[in-house]
Amino acid sequence: MPIDSFGDALFGLPSWIDAIIRIVLVVLAMTVVVIYLTYGERKVVARFQQRLGPTETGPAGLIQGLADALKLVTKEDIRPTNADRWVFELAPYATFIPVLMMLMALPFAADWGVRNLTLGLFYVFAILGLNIVGILMAGLGSGNKYALLGGVRAAAQMISYEIPLVISLLCVVMITGADANPDGSNGVGSLNLNVIAALQADRPFLVLQPLAFLIFFTAMLSELHRAPFDIPVAESEIVGGYFVEYSGIRWSMFQLTEYASMWGFSVFGSVVFLGGWAWPYGMFDWDAPWWAQLAATMVKSLLFITLIFWVRTTVPRLRIDQLMSFCWKVLLPMSILQMAMNGVILVYDWPQELLAASSAAGAAVLIAIIIRRAVRRPSRDLVGTYKTLGAPAQ
């Protein structure tokens, strides 16, 4: 397994120089990805809305993101008089650094990542929890009421949704325990992201854990403040939320954070649920070159991101109490259910097909709960009845 070689010197250089090279590569990749994600989002959303999106700057508008970045960097950095100076000025960095640190643990390919951590999965969500601090700092330090509301909303939402998120990931860790021992008996699960990816060489964990995947995806949207959970940044209510007072480079730090964490989460999700760099190559028993593995990870994460864009363009926003009750009354019980089902099946060494079937049934229940009213299509009935109700035609 290529995991063993991971973390060795990449270019035959001392370990610390090697680490710096890797960090620089990841940060550069992140910058390029973020610039083109903003471009990509505008293009994708424009297509959903029957528009063209950016077309003028460069061929097909390709350097629009670059132009935007340049504009933001050269803009004046405004600090409101009412703001708490240091809290206000440091908040963008406090938000951004955890995301950057999270990227350091992600395996983009078997041999391509900054560090291969034994507790990679634990590290990722532990670090992401720090994100809230920066957002609260921005909300409280701006001296703006919209920002305050946004910051408080964000904190409540992120803390709540972290619980189902973590539990759904632990379900996958339980499965890795089933696979870890060569003799097929239950072993101890692995939190190493590379191990998790390598174990999916034959089939992605999405097949075994669709319910956990659904919960992960929903909670991820919430952690990223993406529709329908964009309550902390709700434009039509609080005008943009916690970063409403920021401008120029500090605002672009928030933008960078948003897209970088979206990308990071997508890579993370594709490693945990979609097989990361290992699937589908393992299926053909083909030791794929690094660029093919990298391409697999990137394509999967792009699928994730497109799904996020799609949801954003079509779905309205939840209200804060609906958001909370959805988390505590639906997602949390369902994630615990998934964990319990996994536990029973693994303890009794039942076949993996049962694991997949039980989780798929759970996923069906979750979807049914989510769309229970929309299925009834009230609109068609109501427009029909309204036409016949009221005063009779003369």
Binding site: A83, L140, K145, L148, A227, P228, V315, P316, S379
Partner: protein
């Protein structure tokens, strides 16, 4: 640490908190123009709401007093600027009633068609903007815009202008419809039907949308009457009150259409009533196409300069937002002595506080959106 103005003055410690005021508007993405409201919130709950209007006041009524009857047409377009033709309709009817003109039958049909197309225009604007209020990131907005552009294009072919057509005249309409009007309108109606279907799928078929709107701020019929609500707002409560039926004008008595009503008067019903009304308007336009006679479109006996002796009148029409009434008074001379507008948006908006208090901030925005106000009409 940051200190709010309230916190500076109020007694704040660990146990006593103060309510916070949030300013929404006049520059805010959710206020549909230049409306401003100051919400007093306790956490996320609205405990008080104080609306401020007047940012778009242009002195419509005074301007009308200082221009002759035909010159004022353009001002009245700009009251309900989402459906200019409906406003022109009411104003022209008032002038005709003051002077006692006849309107050729063909012109009446053209007027009704244009007014109903304007109603669709305005309701599409509502559907789109309301979707944006609920948070669908502009997709509903753009959907609405597509159909509105098509209606506007047709208006341009008819009158030469899109938003402020100034097409009606006291005594008829400015000019006849273009030759291919029938095929154009039928084509338009097909698109509009498709557009409404799209909205049905995008918003009404969405669990989150239904969940957010259903049961929100229900209004009883008694409350609706006491508050002076009209239009879709009162029909959502279950009262089939429509001026086109209650006090028919123009050729409406000859047209078959239903009055869509709701059951609970909540935000969802208001939305659905407007959607169903758009279907009914399409039905009316179709009937007009079948019934429209040939003939003149402007009364040929009109004098060059309108001088109206002592007269007084009140004209009620069903505007897009509710009862659009014009009280006119003439005392001789070329200018009206008084033209008073009873604007439905203003009356509907006056009930905002009662509807909003006790709800979440996010819901306050939706409730404001569901009133479907247009500030040109509120501020005159």
């Amino acid at each position: 640490m940051t200190v709010w103005p309230e916190a500076r003055t109020g007694e704040v410690d660990d146990f006593n908190t103060v309510d916070m005021t949030i300013n929404v508007g006049p520059q805010h993405p959710a206020t549909h123009g230049v409306f401003r409201m100051v919400l007093t919130v306790d956490g996320e709950m609205v405990v008080d709401c104080e609306p401020y209007i007047g940012y778009l006041h242009r002195g419509l009524e005074k301007l009308t007093e200082n221009h002759d009857y035909r010159q004022s047409m353009g001002w009245w377009d700009r009251t309900d600027y989402l459906a200019g033709m409906c406003c022109e309709f009411a104003y022209c009817m008032a002038v005709e009633k003051l002077a006692g003109f006849e309107v050729p039958e063909r012109a009446e049909y053209i007027r009704v068609m244009m007014a109903e197309l304007s109603r669709i225009l305005s309701h599409f604007m509502f559907l789109g903007a309301f979707g944006a209020d609920v948070g669908s990131f502009g997709t509903s907005f753009i959907y609405a815009w597509r159909e509105r552009e098509r209606i506007y294009d047709f208006f341009e072919e008819v009158s030469g202008d899109r938003m402020f057509p100034t097409y009606f005249r006291p005594g008829g309409v400015q000019m006849d419809l273009p030759e291919n009007y029938e095929s154009r309108i039928r084509e338009l109606l097909g698109w509009l039907e498709q557009g409404l279907e799209d909205f049905d799928g995008l918003l009404v078929g969405n669990e989150i949308f239904v969940e957010r709107c259903r049961g929100l701020s229900p209004v009883t019929p008694e409350q609706a009457i006491n508050w002076g609500l009209s239009g879709p707002m009162i029909r959502a409560t279950g009262l089939a009150h429509d001026i086109r039926r209650a006090e028919p004008y123009s050729v409406y008595p000859r047209l078959k259409f239903n009055i869509p009503v709701g059951r609970n008067g909540d935000v969802f019903d208001r939305f659905m009533v407007r959607m169903a009304e758009a279907y009914q308007s399409m039905k009316i336009v179709e009937q007009c196409l079948e019934q429209i006679p040939k003939g003149l479109v402007l009364n040929p006996d009109l004098p060059k300069t309108l001088r109206i002796a002592d007269a007084e009148c009140y004209v009620r029409t069903e505007g897009t937002k509710g009862e659009y009434g014009v009280y006119g008074m003439a005392r001789g001379g070329v200018n009206p002595y008084r033209m008073k507008l009873r604007s439905p948006s203003f009356c509907n908006l006056s009930a905002l506080r009662e509807m909003v208090v006790g709800h979440y901030v996010a819901d306050a925005i939706i409730i404001l959106g569901s009133l479907d106000i247009v500030l040109g009409e509120v501020d005159k």
